[in-house]
């Protein structure tokens, strides 16, 4: 028996989330008294694989033959083969675009119960019960998994990184190859920009900013903090900001350490997208705005006056 953690790579590199996943997998593997293995598909530098050892995998399986771009069927087949070969009773994915696309497919292949977007280790192992937020973060459900094999996807920025060195032997994984039925024809990607879903600090603004021409001060504040920018739904619907910045129930669901909401009233759908943030700051001129119910810190005031002052104070902090 074993725990298998699937690790995505980004242009051959791992990210903080990769170490979070390993720390999480290791904790569960220890609880279950079994080894943890990692799996990486696609081309990754040897030095990057080396960094994984710190977080406890006994073995790191690799295969870069044909895994240049994501074909869900082909990747799911490879992950399932690794899981079967190593008798994995639990497979862990990251809850993001790639993990979401693969976990369901692997679950069917392995006849495994899947629980998505978990944020903590199981409540119990026998029976296997784990907590997850349902109804878009409104309540927790305790989900019991009845199958012998289980699959979990872990929400980002929810599990502490724990250093726990292990052998980390890199081993080439022999695979039966599936032929991809999808093909990436072109890629359009901004590099160097801090991604909203990766950001630990987020500065977000809403209709209170009155128009897209006033976003300069939001961007300045984000730059001072080293934060990503986000917006509420009306701003993306109106075309003030790109859709990729929309946070909320129908947009992106994020969990940064700090979320600053400026001129956002805080409709229940918006709160659903940000309630996992560790600290929420609300700045709004309406003292009755519902955002203050979700916030840890608040200021009632005019954003156009408060933001430049906050920016200056943070520069000196």
């Amino acid at each position: 028996m074993s725990v298998l953690v699937y690790l995505e790579n980004w242009d051959g590199k791992f990210k903080k989330v990769s170490f979070e996943l390993l720390s999480y997998g290791k904790k569960i593997a220890e609880d279950m008294g079994v080894p943890m293995f990692a799996l990486s598909l696609g081309k990754v530098d040897a030095s990057e694989l080396e960094t994984l050892k710190t977080y406890g995998p006994e073995k790191i399986f690799v295969n870069d033959n044909g895994f240049d771009s994501l074909d869900n069927e082909m990747y799911a087949s490879a992950i399932s083969q690794a899981a079967e070969k190593e008798d994995a009773t639990l497979v862990v994915f990251s809850q993001d675009n790639v993990g979401n696309a693969l976990a369901g497919r692997v679950a069917v292949r392995l006849k495994a119960g899947l629980v998505s977007a978990v944020s903590a280790i199981p409540i119990s192992y026998d029976p296997f019960i784990i907590k997850k937020k349902v109804y878009t973060n409104k309540v927790f459900g305790h989900v019991k998994v009845n199958t012998a094999k289980k699959i979990l996807s872990l929400s980002k920025n929810t599990f502490e990184i724990i250093e726990n060195a292990a052998a980390g032997v890199v081993e080439e994984l022999a695979l039966d190859h599936a032929e991809p039925k999808t093909k990436v024809e072109s890629t359009d990607k901004v590099t160097g920009k801090l991604l909203l879903t990766d950001a630990e600090l987020v500065v977000s603004a809403g209709r209170g900013m009155k128009g897209p021409e006033n976003w300069g001060m939001i961007e300045e504040l984000a730059e001072t903090l080293g934060a990503a920018t986000a917006c509420s739904r009306p701003c993306s619907d109106e075309g003030w900001r790109p859709h990729t910045e929309h946070v909320g129930q129908t947009g992106k669901i994020i969990a940064p350490n700090l979320y600053i909401a400026i001129g956002i009233s805080g409709a229940i759908q918006h709160i659903g997208g940000i309630s996992n943030s560790k600290c929420i700051v609300a700045i709004n001129k309406d003292p009755d705005a519902p955002i203050f119910e979700a916030a840890d810190y608040g200021i009632v005031g005019d954003a156009f006056k408060v933001i430049p002052e906050l920016n200056e104070a943070l520069k000196n902090a």
Binding site: N100, A101, G104, A107, V108, A117, V134, Y135, V139, T250
Partner: protein, 246 residues
């Protein structure tokens, strides 16, 4: 080209959910078409109307008779026909297995699912469905186009997008961006929807992989700490020394 849109019937996103045991208290709950499914129907309609070669749009749902209001809404938006698998969905694998039966009984080139449902947020039906059927799948889909009769699918990736060509049939799990504003049914559409075919199918038996055994309310949040608009430094100090986030 035939398109099938998988539709989930969920409580309105503004609902303050209440439970008795693990059962949602449904009194006073307004049910809606899951927001992403609604956008999928909208995009399917746009493709059909553009003359890109869409012949038929079908809706499929897994739900008891009460979900027919939601299905009729999809038909009123402009879908051509619908299937309802007569069962209360238990988990994603159950739902995916039932939908696979509907799909096997028909002929579809593109199957769209919302990337998640606004109730159990399982994010898995699309992937499971494609694997059961042995079809290719694309997740995080932000655009679907038909170019020279062929499907072209945009997938969101970190910091941008990829444009994919795909073999059909294919399952696309769609998110916001595929369409922006959902289509609002017109009175004529609502009238016509009453006469459109809605086929009810019995559910097949499925092993229970996962089940919700308890609902837990989140801890009450501690009250917000307010700072005067003149005391910006107070806020900065709290973020630095109390919350330790900067």
């Amino acid at each position: 080209m035939n398109i099938l849109v998988c539709v989930s019937n969920v409580p309105d996103t503004t609902t303050k959910v209440k439970f008795s045991g693990t059962q949602l208290e449904t009194e006073g709950v307004q049910w809606i078409v899951n927001p992403w499914d609604e956008l999928a129907i909208t995009r399917a309609l746009e493709l059909k109307e553009s003359g890109a070669g869409v012949d038929k749009i079908t809706i499929a749902t897994v739900g008891l008779v009460g979900t027919e209001t939601t299905i009729r809404k999809g038909l009123a938006m402009g879908a051509d026909d619908a299937f309802r698998v007569d069962a209360d969905p238990t988990d994603a694998f159950f739902t995916a297995t039932q939908l696979a039966e509907v799909i096997k009984a028909g002929s579809y080139d593109l199957i769209m699912t919302g990337f998640e449902s606004a109730d159990y947020n399982g994010i898995s039906v699309g992937g499971m469905l494609s694997e059961i059927l042995g079809y290719p799948s694309v997740g995080a889909v932000s655009a679907v186009n038909i170019v020279d009769g062929k499907l072209q699918i945009d997938r969101e990736i970190d910091g941008g997008k990829e444009v994919l060509s795909v073999q059909t049939p294919v399952v696309a799990s769609v998110q916001k961006g595929i369409a922006i504003d959902p289509r609002i049914p017109a009175m004529r559409g609502i009238m016509m929807a009453r006469r459109k075919p809605l086929t009810v199918m019995p559910a097949v038996e499925v092993e229970v992989y996962t089940e919700v055994v308890e609902i837990e309310l989140p801890e009450a949040k501690s009250a917000v700490k307010m700072f005067d608009a003149e005391d910006i430094q107070g806020l900065v100090n709290a973020l630095k020394n109390e919350a330790n986030v900067i």
